[in-house]
Symmetry: C2
Subunit: 432 residues, 2 copies
């Protein structure tokens, strides 16, 4: 399930909207700024938008593996780096790329200014490593835009309201910065430049015949993000939905149209049932075996795990005839080390037989707004997997999504089989 | 001549002094923080000072070649990187090392906080790349010290008073930060940790028998810095002198005493004539040949060069019998490209025969406060060079220094010869 985080971008948004001028927020991911040549290319794109008369805000991620390198240094120093200092450290990557891009814009004969999260007025709470944006004080950005400058904002970071410390926004943080800025500045579109052409019906690297979608609703994009589509994090899509910021996910290497993400009502989606097949191999499965079937047991299990900060995804529980049951759920592999001893203790405490973990699983999901009115979709999906000889271990559904846990070794075949089954719908959708 | 820059660190200093508590400002240069192991070593040293009950402020330079790497990126982007953005870029190196050190301190069981120049209240003018400190607003540092924390301040950088932009302080900037902080916080000593044991009577890498000095006066240290001793920049020494901050230059790799730099009156220097022999191969010589000897010609030459930002060091002019004269001076090799066309134009304008430049020179200097009362020192130096068969091209003196320009190829022999001549005095001094 999508664990969307809600961020408030209050009054400022309406203030900015009043200015009524055409603001372009353009975000460039790590591979789009991988070296100085690519940064110059980004600068040319920003300048082109400026020369079309737009007020241009660029948000660049850190170059290539800069952030990985900084993380490596931190872990050489400490097994558990101090969170405040960790944010101080890992936030420099964006400062580097944005300053370099500002230099490149200057060389193209335009004025530019790069701003840190703090200078850009990205005010957050104090939760280091996954801070939420509390407010955007856009005065300095607006002044620079009024002066005709191209503004570069270091993504992924902000400053805490109370302590004036540098904070970071967590994974996908530069998208969050860009979408929040688009909301605060009243931009009608936030362009997300990436290394793929847009949002696809399945990962083109593993599925033959996957297609680029022209449009996708916020709701579908959220489900796709939550089930493994890596093009955007659910959190940024959620902010876009709340503030009505249309997203345009597109390739930094070309000028062709990518995928628009917007309100369902604004898009021509009626005929399309399926928007995509996603997959996720980052999760593991845990099972507590032969749990006494008494009220409150499930609540107790998941409260203890939640208190330990373990993110639970799918949960299934089958009540058995003899009064004992198995509780299974999926969780990030990275949380296994934390969760395993807790589960062992829990199993003993509640009188279960044992706890088991399995990290050889994968999740395959089918997402589509049209599913709501087409009840046969789930059955079609199960059939596709059965025909491919793939066993389903867990099933979970929402109104616009069906997810199945399968063996990790089967994941590529599973995605291909499901995609083949729905290919006709997907082609229809891609043409919409 | 020493081109000391004056920075004012006003009221705050006296405020801080009132607190009357023992503040240790400890600065670590690039090689002392070359990798994460060395940063952990720095953390241990800071913790040791804290455990002695001192209020500890660390100032770390950027790790090894981080700043060079950032400069390389900037020059890949632009032949002339925009100064504001350049500062934004190159200031991140210190942020990295100081955040890493704060993590390491935490792991040793002490509280630490790393602060950017801006967070530390290092307020500067707006001259990007060589900003001067205008004020230190030490509130945040003092609060952290009051809370028992070890404070890490990113050296080399500040924030401009008017525009709130990141500024950098130029070469040796971390020393400047450390000394200015020591002044503002009322520290009675600023420890400069480096990769050598202290200040030597000559560069130990090229001179046999060079000795570590126990003490050296600000005045001598300034002359040594200005004539090629690389252990500290003149600017930081000048600030230390103005605010009476004693410096202790010492090795980060050992606990042995290094060299104390303080007021002449506070040191036992009476017997010592010579503090050291320095050399500098970074300069070139320029000559305007056969200049008509009319009033105002020299003023015109050096006004034009000053306006072009060329730093002139030694100047000699010999009036000749026939009413024409040669004007020679030294200037940084890096300014040659700017200076040459100016000199050619000047020579034509003023009716001189030609202008010549020569980048195969070196400057050898002898520095010592005791020289004031020992008029024979200069003659001894010329004699030493003559005995070694080394020709002197230009001579320049101050009350505590004699400098000679020689051929670059002769520099090592020249330094050795002069050092040998004064070795007896040097040994006396080292014992002081």
């Amino acid at each position: 399930m999508a664990t969307a985080e809600y961020e408030s971008i209050p009054e400022v948004a309406s203030d900015a909207v009043k200015s009524g001028r055409d603001v372009a927020v353009m975000k460039f991911g790590g591979t789009s700024v991988g070296d100085t040549e690519k940064i110059k290319e980004v600068a040319r794109r920003l300048v082109r938008a400026r020369e079309e008369g737009r007020r241009v805000v660029g948000v660049l991620s850190a170059m290539g593996d800069t952030t990985d390198e900084l993380e490596r240094l931190a872990h050489e120093i400490s097994a558990q780096p101090h969170p405040r200092e960790y944010d101080m450290l890992v936030s420099v990557g964006e400062r580097i790329s944005n300053a370099l891009c500002a230099m490149a814009v200057h060389d193209l004969g335009h004025e530019a200014i790069s701003l840190t999260g703090s200078q850009a007025g990205i005010v957050t709470d104090t939760v280091h490593g996954k801070a939420k944006i509390a407010e955007i004080r856009a005065t300095r950005i607006n002044e620079a835009l009024d002066a005709g400058k191209i503004v570069l904002v270091a993504g992924f970071q902000g400053v805490s309201a109370d302590s004036h410390d540098v904070t970071t926004l967590g994974r996908g943080g530069s998208d969050t910065t860009a979408v929040a800025l688009a909301a605060a500045l009243g931009a009608d579109v936030c362009e997300i430049y990436t290394d793929v052409e847009g949002v696809f019906t399945a990962d083109p690297r593993i599925v033959d015949g996957s297609l680029k979608l022209k449009t996708v609703s916020y709701e579908e994009m959220l489900e796709m993000a939550a089930t493994g589509a890596r093009v955007m994090m659910a959190r940024s899509v959620e902010i876009a939905r709340r503030y009505g910021v249309r997203l345009h996910v597109r390739a930094s290497s070309s000028d062709s149209e990518g995928t628009w993400v917007a309100e369902e009502g604004d898009l021509v989606l009626e005929k399309a049932i399926v928007s995509g097949v996603t997959h996720d191999v980052s999760e593991a499965k845990a099972t507590i075996v032969a749990v006494p079937d008494t009220p409150g047991v499930a609540a107790r299990v998941f409260r203890v795990l939640a208190d330990a900060g373990v993110n639970i995804d799918m949960i299934v529980q089958n009540v058995s005839a003899d009064g004992a049951t198995d509780i299974s759920f999926t969780l990030p592999k990275s949380d296994l080390a934390t969760a395993k001893p807790i589960l062992d203790r829990l199993a003993a405490d509640i009188g279960a037989r044992a706890s088991e973990v399995d990290d050889e699983i994968a999740k395959v999901s089918l997402v589509g707004a049209g599913m709501k009115s087409h009840p046969g979709v789930a059955a079609d999906m199960f059939e596709a997997l059965a025909e491919a000889g793939i066993n389903i271990e867990i099933i979970s559904t929402s109104s616009i999504r069906v997810s199945c846990v399968v063996r990790a070794a089967d994941v590529e075949r599973a995605v291909q089989a499901v995609h083949d089954k729905f290919r006709l719908y997907a082609e229809e959708r891609a043409r919409a």
